[in-house]
C-alpha cells in the first residue's frame, strides 16, 4: 500500500479526539457528557478543544452523580441523541451498573425492539504510578458477559479512531474501554471519517508458530514479544480482539488451526475472565488442532497493589509472553530477567511522569 508511507502518525489519544471531533461535526445528535469532559485537562486531552468548538451544550460537565447521568444519557439516547459518556477511570462506572446492565443493555430486547439505546460509555483503565485497587481495574469480562452490550477495546491509534466512530454510529450501548498506557503510543491514522467495524478481530501480525490472542494493552506487549522472538525464528500470529462482545472467534480458530498453539493475553483477571472464554471457544471448536494446552496470561486473582514493589509482579510482562511462546514452540527456555522490587516498571515509557 503506497498510501501507508504518507499516512499521518498520531497518538492514540489524538485519534480518539479526532473521532469525537469528526462525529460531532457530522452529526448534531452527538454530545459528550462526563465529569471534567470540558475542563482544561480534558480527560487526558481526549476531549481537548471540543468545548471551544462545539460549546457547553454539546460537551457537558456533570454533577458527581454517575448513576443518574448514565440514566440521563440513556433517556437522551431513547429520543434519538447519541451521547458519549466519559469516565476518567473505569471504577466510576461501577456506580452505574443498574443503568448499564439492567437498563441500557436490556431496553431494546425487553421492549420488543421498540426502544434503542445509541450510547457510548468510555472508560479509562489506569495502570502504574500507584493507581492501586480502585484506579486500575480492567473489567471488560463483566461487561462482555451481559447480552445486549457491545464491548470494545482498541489497541492501536488506527483502531481507536475507527472503532470509536463505529461505536458512536452504532444503535446500541457500547462500553468503550481505553487503556491509559496506550494513550501515548503513535501509529498511522488516516484523515477523515473511516470505520473499523465492531465485532471483528484483526490479525495484527501473521506468523506460523504460536497464536497470541490479545486485548488492549496486551496486544502491544504481544507485538514487542513477537519482535523479540522473530530474531530467534519464532513467529507469533497476533489476533487483536478489538471487540469482546459480540466476539467473533473465526480468525482465532483459523489461526489455531494453523499454529496449533494458543496464548491468550488479557488485561483482566484470570478466573471467569475473557481469556477463559477464548480458550473455551478454541477447545470446543478445534480441540483436535491443539498441539499443547492453551496458556492464559492475565492478572493474578488479587486486587491491584499500589506499591511498585508488588505491582512489578502483578502485571504480565513481555517476558511472560516470550517464555510461554518458546515453551509452546518447543524451544529451550531462557533465564527469566530478574525483576527488582524497586524497578520502575510502573510507567509505560520515560515520558510519563506522575501523577497520571
Amino acid at each position: 500500500m503506497s498510501a501507508t508511507a504518507s499516512t499521518r502518525q498520531l497518538k492514540f489519544v489524538q485519534a480518539l479526539n479526532e473521532a469525537l471531533d469528526l462525529c460531532m461535526t457530522k452529526d448534531p445528535r452527538v454530545f459528550i457528557i462526563g465529569l471534567g469532559a470540558p475542563d482544561p485537562a480534558a480527560i487526558f486531552a481526549s476531549t481537548k478543544g471540543l468545548v471551544e468548538k462545539y460549546g457547553p451544550t454539546r460537551v457537558l460537565d456533570m454533577p458527581v452523580a454517575e448513576n443518574a447521568i448514565t440514566g440521563v444519557a440513556l433517556g437522551a439516547a431513547l429520543r434519538g441523541m447519541r451521547p458519549v459518556m466519559t469516565h476518567i477511570r473505569l471504577e466510576f462506572a461501577m456506580l452505574t451498573i443498574d443503568q448499564i446492565v439492567n437498563q441500557a443493555a436490556k431496553w431494546h430486547y425487553m421492549f420488543g425492539g421498540q426502544a434503542s439505546v445509541p450510547l457510548v460509555i468510555r472508560m479509562v483503565v489506569g495502570r502504574g504510578w500507584g493507581q492501586g485497587a480502585q484506579h486500575s481495574q480492567s473489567l471488560q469480562s463483566w461487561f462482555a458477559h451481559v447480552p445486549g452490550l457491545k464491548v470494545v477495546m482498541p489497541a492501536t491509534p488506527h483502531d481507536a479512531k475507527g472503532l470509536l466512530i463505529s461505536a458512536i454510529e452504532d444503535n446500541n450501548p457500547v462500553v468503550f474501554i481505553e487503556h491509559r498506557w496506550l494513550y501515548g503510543i503513535h501509529g498511522p491514522v488516516p484523515e477523515g471519517v473511516y470505520r473499523v467495524p465492531l465485532g471483528q478481530p484483526n490479525v495484527l501480525r501473521q506468523g506460523r508458530h504460536v497464536t497470541v490472542v490479545a486485548t488492549s494493552y496486551m496486544t502491544l506487549e504481544a507485538v514487542r514479544a513477537a519482535d523479540e522472538l522473530a530474531q530467534e525464528g519464532i513467529e507469533l500470529e497476533i489476533v487483536d480482539v478489538r471487540t469482546l462482545n459480540p466476539f467473533d472467534e473465526t480468525l482465532v480458530l483459523e489461526s489455531v488451526r494453523k499454529t496449533g498453539k494458543l496464548i491468550v493475553a488479557d488485561t483482566g483477571w484470570r478466573s471467569v475472565g475473557f481469556a477463559a472464554e477464548v480458550v473455551a471457544r478454541v477447545t470446543e471448536r478445534c480441540f483436535g488442532d491443539l498441539k499443547a494446552p492453551p496458556v492464559r496470561l492475565t492478572l493474578p486473582d488479587v486486587p491491584t497493589p499500589t506499591t511498585r514493589a508488588l505491582s512489578n509482579y502483578y502485571y504480565p510482562l513481555v517476558h511472560d509472553i516470550t517464555a510461554a511462546a518458546r515453551r509452546l514452540a518447543g524451544r529451550p527456555a531462557k533465564p527469566a530477567p530478574e525483576i527488582k522490587p524497586e524497578a520502575f516498571l510502573d510507567v509505560p515509557d520515560p515520558s510519563f511522569t506522575g501523577p497520571f
Partner: protein
C-alpha cells in the same frame, strides 16, 4: 396553590379514566387466577386517581415514565389496551412483543417511554428524555411516576439535582402508598419528615395533595405542569394514596398482618372511584345513566381486548434471539 376548578368535560373524562383503570384491573385480577398471565403483576387499584389526574393534563406527544406499578399510568396516558393485555399473556402482539410483561410496558406512540421494576431506575431516564428535548431546542414535558420508596434511592436525589440544575421540563410524581412491598414508611424514613421535604431541600417547586381526590391531583399537577412547560423548571409532587391488594399479585393480603387494623377499610372508604363518581353526580356533571353507559362501554372494550390477547399467537421460537441488538 391557586384555586383551580376541574372543567366539567375534564371531570367526566377523569371519571371515565379512573373507572376504566379500575374495571380493567378488576378483570385482570379475575383472569390472573386462570394462571395464563404468567408474569409478576402489580395492581394499581386504589391509586388510580393520581395517574388519571396527572395525565388529564398531558398532550399525546408529552412523555411519561413509570415503574413496576405501571398499569394506571400506561392506560391514563392512552397506552393501547390490547397491546397491554397481550403483553400480560406473553403474546407476540403484546406492546413489548411478549418479551417484557406487566413490568415492562411501553407505548411510544402515546409518549409512554417505558416502565421497569428496578425502583428509581426510570427517574434519570425521564430526566434524560427532558434534557434531550432541551438540547434539541424543542423542550418537551416529561412526567416521571414512581412510588415512595424511590425517594429513598440515591438516584432519585441525583436526578432531581440534575433536573433542577438544568431547569428541565420535568414533573416528578410520587405516589406515596405507605409501603414498599411489606415495609412501612416507619422503617424507611424518619417519622417527622415528610417525603415532599426532600424536594424542598433540592429547591424545586413542590407540593403535596390527596392522591385519592382526582380534583386535588388535577389542580396540583396542573400548576406544576404549567410551570415546567413554561420553562420555570422541574417540580416534585407527593400524592398520598393506598394500594388495596398485595404488593405483587391480584389477592388481598390482610392475613399477612403488616397493615394496621382498620387501615385498609379507612382507605377503601375513600375509594377514589366512588369518591369522584359521587362528587360528579352531586354536582350534576354526570348522571347514574351516564355512569352505567361508561361501565358498559368500558366492559365491551375490555371484552374485545381480552379476546384479542387470548387469540393472539405466542412469539415463535425464532424470536428468542431477535432484538438483542438494534440494527
Amino acid at each position: 396553590m391557586k384555586n383551580r376548578q376541574t372543567p366539567p368535560d375534564v371531570a367526566r373524562r377523569m371519571l371515565h379514566g379512573i373507572m376504566r383503570v379500575r374495571l380493567i384491573e378488576e378483570r385482570i385480577r379475575k383472569l390472573y387466577a386462570e394462571q395464563e398471565m404468567r408474569c409478576p403483576t402489580h395492581f394499581s387499584i386504589g391509586q388510580e386517581a393520581v395517574a388519571v389526574g396527572v395525565c388529564a393534563h398531558l398532550k399525546r406527544e408529552e412523555l411519561i415514565t413509570s415503574a413496576h406499578r405501571s398499569h394506571a399510568h400506561y392506560l391514563a396516558k392512552g397506552g393501547d389496551l390490547k397491546g397491554m393485555l397481550a403483553e400480560l399473556y406473553g403474546k407476540a402482539t403484546g406492546c413489548a412483543a411478549g418479551k417484557g410483561g406487566s413490568m415492562h410496558l411501553i407505548d411510544r406512540s402515546v409518549g409512554f417511554l417505558g416502565a421497569v421494576p428496578i425502583v428509581g431506575s426510570t427517574i434519570p431516564i425521564g430526566v434524560g428524555a427532558a434534557l434531550s428535548s432541551v438540547l434539541q431546542g424543542n423542550p418537551l414535558l416529561t412526567v416521571i411516576f414512581f412510588g415512595d420508596a424511590a425517594t429513598e434511592a440515591g438516584v432519585f436525589h441525583e436526578s432531581l439535582n440534575i433536573a433542577a440544575l438544568h431547569k428541565l421540563p420535568v414533573v416528578m410524581v410520587c405516589e406515596n402508598n405507605l409501603y414498599s412491598v411489606l415495609s412501612p414508611l416507619s422503617v424507611r424514613k424518619p417519622e417527622d419528615r415528610e417525603i415532599v421535604q426532600l424536594a424542598q431541600g433540592h429547591g424545586v417547586f413542590n407540593g403535596q395533595a390527596d392522591g385519592n381526590d382526582a380534583d386535588a391531583v388535577y389542580a396540583l399537577a396542573g400548576e406544576a405542569i404549567e410551570r415546567a412547560r413554561a420553562g420555570q423548571g422541574p417540580a416534585f409532587l407527593e400524592f398520598k394514596t393506598y394500594r388495596w391488594y398485595e404488593h405483587c399479585g391480584p389477592l388481598e393480603d390482610q392475613h399477612l398482618g403488616y397493615r394496621p387494623p382498620g387501615e385498609l377499610e379507612a382507605w377503601k372508604a375513600r375509594d377514589p372511584l366512588k369518591l369522584y363518581a359521587g362528587r360528579l353526580r352531586q354536582h350534576g356533571i354526570v348522571s347514574d345513566a351516564d355512569i352505567a353507559v361508561m361501565e358498559k362501554t368500558i366492559d365491551a372494550e375490555i371484552d374485545e381486548a381480552v379476546a384479542f390477547a387470548k387469540a393472539s399467537p405466542f412469539p415463535t421460537r425464532d424470536q428468542l434471539a431477535t432484538h438483542l441488538y438494534a440494527p
